[in-house]
């Protein structure tokens, strides 16, 4: 397909048979409306945010997890023959919109925007109403502020929860274990 008309298109990636369109955050809604109306992507399958804090780069040469035990080097690239260095990431978070067109052949498309910590993405609830809970989850789990969302409150965690659990700097097991003898 021809993606030239997509507003704010920065990059088109093809990998393993999947197409990814990297678009500008500011014109995300226009890009989504264009894809829905011109290309027939009438079905929003999923919205996923990903935290790339500590993502291995060509200079650091160490993969693995930020904030875990020091000296972890089992992930050093090249030691198993399969690994190849992942590409650089422009900003800390990516937000991915997985689209589907309900037509013959079921074409799929991923729209990707990149944001830094605290940088908002525009809401696409007006384009696909199903985005409502997906965007709340992205806010709750990764702390992506969604601008223009009608009801941006936590969804899975409690209302007064501190932190965003799926961030890479949020520790696993950081919550104290309750109901033990010595509380």
């Amino acid at each position: 397909m021809d993606w030239d008309g997509v507003p704010g298109l920065l990059e088109t990636k093809e990998d393993r048979g999947e197409t990814t369109l990297v678009v500008e955050t500011a014109t995300l809604v226009e890009a989504c409306e264009h894809l829905r109306d011109e290309h027939g992507f009438n079905f929003l399958s999923d919205i996923t945010a990903t935290d790339y804090l500590g993502w291995p780069t060509t200079t650091s040469r160490v993969a693995g997890y930020y904030g875990t035990a020091a000296g972890r080097d089992v992930n050093a690239p090249g030691s198993a023959g399969l690994a190849r260095l992942p590409g650089d990431r422009p900003k800390r978070f990516s937000v991915n919109y997985h689209l589907l067109a309900l037509v013959e052949g079921a074409p799929r498309l991923r729209i990707q925007v990149w944001v830094d910590d605290g940088e908002p993405v525009p809401s696409v609830v007006g384009v696909w109403p199903t985005a409502d809970w997906h965007e709340r989850e992205a806010w709750d789990m990764l702390g992506i502020p969604v601008e223009g969302h009608p009801n941006l409150v936590r969804i899975l965690m409690e209302d007064d929860w501190e932190g965003h659990p799926l961030r890479k700097d949020y520790p696993l097991g950081g919550e104290p274990v309750r109901f033990s003898e010595e509380e």
Partner: protein, 436 residues
């Protein structure tokens, strides 16, 4: 017997919903928040409106779902779903496990269609690895996933009928469910949460005696579905309580991202097994049932018919598998797949591979993939990011139940409180999957 008459509707070809179709106008989807049915302005200060909490521990919610409902008499005028009570951080935990160990997690996310959840994760790993499983593994996966689909629909049927008052249905449905779990135990050694699919194929070969037992089940199941239908299909109470209740139009269903039996009950002929064939679904013969009224009854009909079709697929898988005796069940890639047990006694190389795979795990090339399959609940997606290391960087499941739950606000507009249970039950949500 007074049966609700419903106007006839045509099956909608999804391809007509292209371009500038007015998808989002003239529908029942609430404004401004699609997932919340707001109390109307003129009722805000009314003393007649009563707010009632359904849940989080209401027995009819199949888990822990809380529905905050505003009632005007018996009519629902406001509804908000509150979730998160079952949140256990599966995705976070999976980021800290090797790919190999993480396979156990998806099954527990949706504990009713465990086999399908396992499949989508394994397929995603294989897509990242570029690994092709042998045909025997593909057909066995298909067989187990279809058995699992019947299992999931049986639980829906039993519990939904129970909630509406047809208590005996529950016992009949669980009789056949137990047969499926027995088959599962025969193959994998576990009744649920089998961890039978590996990246590259299956964990073990299919045991002797499985095919004849499964064949017996295939002969039995269509009769059992006939039994269910004779119990409730013409039952006046069942019809009164399901027909014309919780109507979802085709346009609303697409806008709300619904899938699976919900969208097929609303008149949209959409099944990923046909539209985007994975495994070997393009080589088997089955029909996709589509009903057009979009109410609780049609969603029930879709699932009943799907049980018959799944039995057909299982029988065809058996035909193929019976000719595959002695063929490999897992790919021969020693960097990913455990070496055969007997080789560990004779081959140093195999021992090293075994040790490396179990301790460090295999490495998956860097990249991101999004894989979708048709689970019993609809479009189940798995988004994976790998940094080239032995652990997933990010795992995300597109859970069909998570998408179906907010649709309750649309479906319950103007409904009566007694219908609430029937409507939420017909969406067939599993709370483990909603909260992950």
């Amino acid at each position: 017997m007074a049966i609700v008459e419903r106007p006839a509707r045509a099956v909608l070809d999804p391809s007509v919903l292209r371009g500038d179709q007015p998808l989002y106008s003239g529908t029942k989807i609430p404004e401004p928040v699609p997932s919340i049915l707001q109390l109307p302005e003129d009722l805000r200060d009314s003393d007649d409106v009563m707010q009632v909490n359904f849940g989080p521990n209401h027995p009819s919610t199949h888990g822990v779902l809380r529905l905050v409902v505003d009632l005007l008499g018996e009519e629902i005028v406001g509804l908000r779903a509150v979730i998160g009570y079952l949140h256990t951080g599966f995705e976070k935990n999976m980021e800290h496990k090797t790919w190999w160990k993480a396979i156990t997690y998806p099954e527990r996310i949706d504990y009713v269609s465990f086999q399908n959840n396992e499949l989508v994760f394994v397929l995603a790993i294989e897509k990242l690895l570029g690994l092709e499983p042998p045909p025997k593994a593909t057909w066995m996966r298909m067989l187990l996933c279809e058995l699992n689909r019947i299992h999931s629909h049986l639980i829906y049927l039993g519990t939904s009928a129970l909630e509406i008052g047809a208590i005996s249905m529950f016992w009949y449905a669980f009789r056949e469910r137990d047969m499926i779990l027995d088959l599962s135990e025969l193959v994998t050694g576990a009744r649920m949460h089998t961890r039978y699919f590996q990246a590259g194929g299956l964990a073990e070969d299919v045991p002797r005696g499985f095919y004849p037992e499964c064949r017996k089940f295939c002969d039995w199941m269509p009769k059992a579905v006939d039994d269910y239908e004779s119990l409730i299909d013409r039952n006046a109470i069942w019809l009164e309580r399901t027909r014309g209740i919780g109507v979802l139009s085709a346009e609303d269903a697409i806008a709300l991202g619904q899938s699976g039996p919900v969208i097929r009950g609303s008149g949209i002929d959409w099944d990923l097994r046909k539209r985007q064939p994975y495994l070997a679904y393009d080589e088997v013969d089955f029909d996709v049932p589509v009903y057009t009224h979009g109410d609780v009854y049609d969603r029930y009909r879709v699932r009943m018919e799907e049980m018959r079709q799944s039995t057909r697929v299982v029988a065809q898988c058996l035909d193929r598998l019976e000719d595959m005796e002695g063929e490999p069940w897992i790919a021969d890639d020693r960097k990913v797949v455990l070496p055969p047990r007997e080789e560990l006694h004779t081959s140093m190389e195999s021992l090293i591979h075994h040790f490396k795979l179990v301790t460090e795990g295999y490495r998956v090339p860097a990249g991101e993939v999004y894989v979708t399959i048709e689970s019993p609940r609809g479009e189940l997606g798995c988004y994976l990011v790998s940094d080239g290391g032995p652990r997933p960087w990010r795992v995300k499941f597109r859970a069909p139940s998570f998408v179906a739950t907010p649709a309750a606000a649309t479906l319950c507009r103007g409904a009566l409180v007694a219908d609430l249970i029937a409507i939420v039950g017909s969406l067939n949500t599993v709370m483990g999957e909603v909260d992950r």
